[in-house]
């Protein structure tokens, strides 16, 4: 008897420890996510340890990330386009320097590199130089460091271009990704809710037990299929279908993503709303029947309204599934980071961006932190959805 009490006590302790530990883990992950994500806004669009330099007589004081990118893409070729003199812009990086000077001039252990940079900028006053602080950290005589403004949340949320690996300055505009995510998720739910609700009504009210026993496990199996398989199915079946139906130049579109995600959200929606439909008390149904309502009228006027909060919860949970889904979307939406203007156009979503880019982003760098900031946005979105679900489910108890 005593022994069993000791076991009981220690088991209780163990269970308690596990509970605290998992809560602590969640907290730790969220803290880590936000620490990395928020520190992103203390950075400039240029990777730490690098800087841009111009001739000291150049009147231009500051360039935006967009201007720097256009200069290095050779879309801006004159300083006059960014408020400077009428001089052509020359770009200088370590590669160009190595071509312009001999190894002898650069020095045996490259100790003359700062001098060479100085010489180059001096002789070509239109030069925009991009170097590691290793070479220019102590400053250059004839040149001036060009300031870059920090990435502000305002720029982060309003810039419409996403070029995180563009050198020397990255463009981090999350707007196209955010809109892409919302567009795909919203329309996937638009497909999935009517279909899922119909299936749930059939399973809960109309199907006989035998059919139900076959259908239910099959629908639940749908949730068990790995998302890569959905993605592949989408790429091979749904993408060509969308392309042919709408006679588009390209089939990898937001629509294809919405359809695949809609199919993936179906099991959640069906299971949750079926459970909600089944909670309708028997006396309510019987009362409706007794008043002369047909089976369909009972479903329409009694059962579905009674289960409305559960059905709403199902839809919102489905959106949550769609928001966070990565692999399937990565394969069927084309992943072009452009501002979405229609459903029949490629989009890039936030989860797909994180999955595709985190592998090569240098640990702790600008790109890395930008992806964490994206993770924060995604976290806040799903958190909001979960809170809404809680509110929706709570409501009938109060009523």
């Amino acid at each position: 008897m005593k022994f069993s009490r000791i076991i009981g006590k220690s088991m209780e302790g163990l269970v308690k420890a596990c509970g605290y530990m998992s809560a602590f883990t969640v907290l730790l992950i969220v803290l880590f996510l936000f620490r990395e994500g928020i520190s992103f806004f203390t950075l400039t669009p240029i990777e730490e340890g690098y800087s841009l330099w111009v001739n000291q007589n150049n009147p231009v004081q500051q360039l935006s990330a967009a201007e720097v990118k256009d200069i290095f893409d050779q879309k801006i070729t004159h300083w006059s386009a960014v408020g400077g003199q009428d001089l052509p812009i020359g770009r200088l990086t370590l590669d160009e320097l190595a071509e312009a000077y001999t190894e002898e001039q650069l020095g045996v252990s490259f100790e003359h590199i700062p001098d060479c940079i100085n010489h180059y900028i001096d002789s070509l006053p239109g030069t925009l130089a991009f170097f590691s602080d290793q070479w220019v950290g102590t400053g250059l005589q004839g040149a001036r460091r060009l300031d870059m403004a920090n990435i502000t949340p305002a720029v982060f949320f309003s810039d419409t271009e996403w070029f995180p690996t563009s050198l020397p300055a990255a463009r981090m505009g999350v707007l196209p990704l955010l809109l892409g995510t919302l567009l795909v998720s919203f329309f996937s739910i638009l497909f999935a809710v009517p279909l899922g609700l119909a299936a749930a009504i059939y399973l809960a009210e109309i199907a006989d037990d035998r059919v139900r026993r076959i259908l239910k496990p099959m629908i639940e199996l749908l949730a068990g299929i790995p998302s890569v398989v959905y993605g592949f199915f989408g790429l091979v079946v749904i993408v060509p279908l969308v392309q042919e139906t709408f006679n588009l130049p390209v089939g990898e579109t937001a629509l294809a993503g919405s359809i695949v995600l809609g199919i993936m959200a179906l099991p959640t929606i069906i299971t949750v709303s079926e459970d909600a439909l089944r909670t309708t008390p028997r006396y309510m149904k019987e009362a409706s029947m007794a008043l002369g309502a047909s089976h369909w009228q009972t479903i329409k006027n009694v059962i579905v309204p009674y289960a409305a909060s559960g059905i709403t919860a199902a839809a919102i949970l489905g959106i949550g599934r769609a928001l966070g889904e990565t692999m399937a979307v990565l394969m069927v939406t084309g992943n072009s980071a452009i501002m979405p203007t229609s459903l029949l156009q490629p989009v890039r979503t936030i989860p797909a961006t994180i999955a595709a880019e985190l592998g090569e982003a240098p640990f702790g760098g600008l790109h890395f932190k930008a992806l964490f900031a994206l993770g924060c946005i995604l976290f806040l979105m799903t958190l909001a959805i979960n809170l809404i679900v809680e509110r929706v489910i709570e409501r009938p108890e109060k009523a």
Binding site: I7, M11, K69, F72, D73, Q74, L94, D95, A98, S109, F110, S132, E161, W162, F163, P164, T165, S166, P176, L235, V236, V239, P240, Q243, P249, V250, G251, E252, L330, M331, G334, N335, S336, A337, I338, P346, R348, A356, E357, G359, E360, A361, P362
Partner: protein, 308 residues
């Protein structure tokens, strides 16, 4: 009402025996788990000590492009030489070069040459880097088989992928929109194409990014206005490879293994193995195997271009 009562009764009957059952069961489970954990612990310490004694394990790290090739080579090499051990890890060329700098890998696979900055860092650390070319990788520019366009110049490719040319009629095709496919920015192929074809300019944001080479082939084969780039070996009969000119359209070269070998085909890159000269004794046998006839046969089988 009576139905509900019955249910409640049912439950009250079952709770007691059930609880005991669960408790007993859990106790057994926990014991088993503890034992398993202990067993695992033992095993992992054994593993560690095993790898310590076996000092001849060659670690290879870097480019994902070379990953499948290195894996096959390592398998065949280990089959042919008893007692040899090679471990291969991917992660990208940059990752491999950093690992070689830190001394955490013996060989670094890289699908590009060292950048000036990287050479300097090796020199600072006084590491004498040796480079071996184990094969070549050529990129085919592919279009849908229904496309009439058969050849493009580098300049035209640059304009297509940076978004300046958007219609096939501008390069001698039908009046149809161009749909350009690229790999994701984490891919070495993405960087290679950007540097050697796009003149280091950024891709247009309208370019579609695919997570895998297979996905590009699949998409190009089912999209009429599509254009994409893939490794030579991936260009199947479901897509059409274009002839490329790097001299403003004077000569167009067909992407073939021969062309990549004698360097007449321009969009080709060497596949490097970098290693520290100090560890040459350790890695030489493996590298020699890759450069041997048997090793080069595997290079061709995987779809790369052998060096001989």
């Amino acid at each position: 009402m009576s139905g509900i009562k019955a249910v409640v009764l049912d439950f009250s009957f079952q709770t007691h025996p059930l609880k005991i059952h669960i408790l007993k069961n859990n106790w057994i489970k926990i014991t088993v788990l503890c034992l398993m954990a202990m067993a695992c612990n033992n095993q992992s310490t054994q593993d560690k000590s095993g790898s310590h004694t076996n000092a001849t394990t060659i670690s290879v790290k870097g480019s994902d492009t070379e990953l499948p090739l290195s894996q096959r080579e390592a398998e065949e090499y280990m089959n042919a030489t008893p007692g040899a051990a090679v471990s291969i890890v991917g992660g990208g060329s940059g990752t491999g070069i950093t690992a070689l700098l830190d001394g955490t890998t013996d060989i670094c696979m890289s699908s590009r040459d060292l950048k000036t900055g990287e050479k300097l860092r090796f020199r600072e650390k006084k590491i004498d880097v040796k480079a071996v070319i184990i094969g070549y990788d050529a990129l085919s520019v592919i279009v849908n088989p229904k496309n009439q366009v058969r050849q493009l110049t580098r300049e035209q490719l640059e304009k297509i992928f940076t978004g300046e040319i958007t219609n096939w009629k501008e390069v001698g095709g039908k009046d149809a929109k161009i749909v350009a496919y690229s790999r994701e920015s984490s891919s070495g192929t993405y960087e290679f194409f950007k540097e050697h074809v796009l003149d280091k300019k950024n891709y247009s944001p309208t370019v579609l990014n695919m997570p895998a080479t297979g996905a590009i082939v699949q998409s190009v084969s089912q999209t009429e206005g599509a254009i994409g780039y893939v490794g030579l070996a991936y260009a199947t009969s479901s897509v059409k490879s274009l002839n490329i000119s790097y001299d403003q359209g004077k000569t167009y070269v067909e992407p073939t293994i021969e062309g990549a070998k004698d360097k007449t085909y321009p969009i080709a890159r060497p596949l490097f193995y970098f290693y520290d000269a100090k560890s040459e004794v350790k890695v030489k046998a493996f590298i020699d195997y890759i450069l041997s006839d048997a090793g080069q046969k595997i290079v061709a089988e995987i779809g790369f271009v052998p060096i001989k």
